[in-house]
């Protein structure tokens, strides 16, 4: 069973966000990393890049497959997890903590309300 922390918001494409002050941290879910398998490469945007809700912002690659990452909300990239670029396995071992991907300043915090809560995301996984 995949872990779905209560305090996060989720997308249909299996990304999560977590509020930290007025910033948002973005990553992929436990379910996503399990489905991908061993993550061997992560490509992320540069600090300062503008990212749009629903648009691709990077890729994660496992031995077998490439997956695009989609932005949960729009904003400006203020931090990139360089450790995960160096050590992509962190996405597998710790998807909700050390395996975070980017941190953004949202341009429209109302967009967060459009995301799934843990219960709804859990239902989505059951339906898949």
């Amino acid at each position: 069973m995949s872990s779905i922390p209560e305090n996060l918001k989720y997308t249909q494409e299996h990304e999560w966000i977590r509020a930290e002050g007025n910033r948002l941290v973005v990553g992929i879910t436990d379910h996503a990393q399990q489905t991908l398998g061993d993550v061997v490469y992560v490509e992320l945007p540069k600090v300062g890049a503008t990212v749009e809700m629903g648009a691709p912002f990077g890729t994660v690659e496992s031995v077998k497959a490439v997956s695009e990452l989609f932005m949960p909300v729009s904003g400006k990239v203020v931090k990139v997890n360089e450790e995960v670029v160096e050590d992509p396995e962190l996405v597998n071992t710790d998807p909700y903590s050390d395996g975070w991907l980017i941190e953004i300043e949202p341009t429209d915090s109302k967009q967060v309300g459009e995301l799934l809560d843990a219960a709804k995301y859990g239902e989505l996984l059951k339906a898949e």
Partner: protein
């Protein structure tokens, strides 16, 4: 509905993640592709390869008939020997790559790729001069036991002395009490055996291997690890690296084509002509020196112009870097030649390197 091997229920019970592969419901991995890959490199792994096809020629003239269809030369090997070979079209392109087993001049078994079995069988029937082939695929299950501890594991389960069964040799006998063809072959770059048994015995054989191999750290492995293992050795995968449009010489598989063998083979004349004229493109090994992983279908560029494409590529779990292979014009095929691979719109540098990527100690 995808077809199932006799081990399907066992894969599910062991937690295999099942995917459709060439119309078969097969495990891509159990726990982790990298973990399974490492197990095969350092200990021993089991693969279900029962989806492969087996086509038999038997009776007087079997050897001569089969030998005209394949590129390698069964007349030069002994009974109990197997050969890697091609089935080529008239243009020298691959209909399939196969392993041909010589039991005797009157019994030849050709093991073909699952995805090509029906095509190969029809192709053989149309071209066999003499003995007609018989599709025996439903009579065999096949388990590959691969890794440095594979030989010891199989030896403990059989009274047959495996010492004389060298690489690409085979014998017959019981393994865990189950009648098998015991073949010192595989496609991982490691030592090991491929065991052929009756479908009804496959689950018992698989379980016996798992149990006996516990102390060796044996693991069931999926097709994901099989792929990364063979890429590190630059072994061709049909449909990716070899197909009807690329010749055996372009693929670097001239060594399995005996151009001067008695009776010749289908596609020989095209290869002789191409050899005389010079090969224009070649399948080369590539190491990504920039950032990213090159994958099947990605364009290869020189000075921004498309000159070829990647046929296989992955992050090599044992070599620990992104490796690939693809066809390039012969003038860009020398070791050290630099090109780019286009990864999602980005030109990322690659260099032509010697293969296999993994240097065995």
């Amino acid at each position: 509905m995808a077809r199932q091997t006799p081990l399907n229920a066992v894969h599910r019970e062991l937690g295999g993640r099942m995917v459709d592969f060439a119309g078969w419901d097969m495990p891509v991995q159990y726990s982790s592709i990298i973990g399974e890959h490492e197990t095969v490199r350092t200990a021993v792994g089991l693969f279900d390869v029962s989806h492969m096809g087996e086509i038999e020629f038997s009776g007087p003239g079997a050897l001569e008939t089969a030998n005209k269809l394949i590129t390698n030369d069964l007349s030069k090997c002994a009974d109990g020997q197997a050969l890697y070979a091609g089935l080529l079209n008239d243009a020298g392109g691959f209909v399939d790559d196969v392993v041909a087993y010589r039991f005797s001049p009157e019994r030849i078994l050709i093991v073909v790729n699952a995805s090509n079995k029906d095509k190969d069988f029809a192709w053989m029937r149309a071209r066999a001069e003499g003995v007609q082939p018989v599709d025996r695929s439903d009579d065999y299950a096949q388990i590959a036991v691969q890794g440095p501890k594979a030989v010891g594991l199989v030896q403990r389960l059989t009274p047959v002395d495996l010492t004389p069964v060298g690489t690409y040799r085979f014998t017959e006998g019981p393994v865990a009490g189950i009648a098998c063809i015991i073949s010192r072959t595989g496609y991982t770059g490691e030592d090991g055996f491929e065991l052929y048994c009756a479908p009804g015995d496959a689950a018992a054989l698989w379980r016996a291997l798992l149990k006996e191999g516990e102390a060796d750290g044996v693991k069931p492995c999926g097709l994901g690890a099989r792929d990364s293992l063979r890429v590190e050795m630059k072994y061709a995968l049909y449909g990716n690296d070899i197909d009807e449009t690329h010749t055996a010489l372009e693929a670097g598989l001239g060594w399995i084509c005996k151009l001067d063998k008695a009776g010749g083979f289908i596609g020989r004349d095209a290869l002789v002509k191409q050899k005389a004229e010079g090969v224009k493109r070649k399948l080369v090994g590539l190491e990504v020196t920039g950032s990213g992983i090159a994958r099947h279908g990605y364009p290869l560029l020189k000075d921004g112009q498309r000159v070829g494409e990647v046929t296989s590529g992955t992050q090599g779990p044992s070599v620990k870097k992104p490796i690939a292979f693809g066809y390039v014009p012969v003038e860009l095929a020398a070791e050290g030649a630099t090109l780019d691979v286009e990864i999602r719109g980005r030109a990322v540098p690659v260099v032509v390197v010697k293969t296999p990527f993994l240097k065995k100690k």
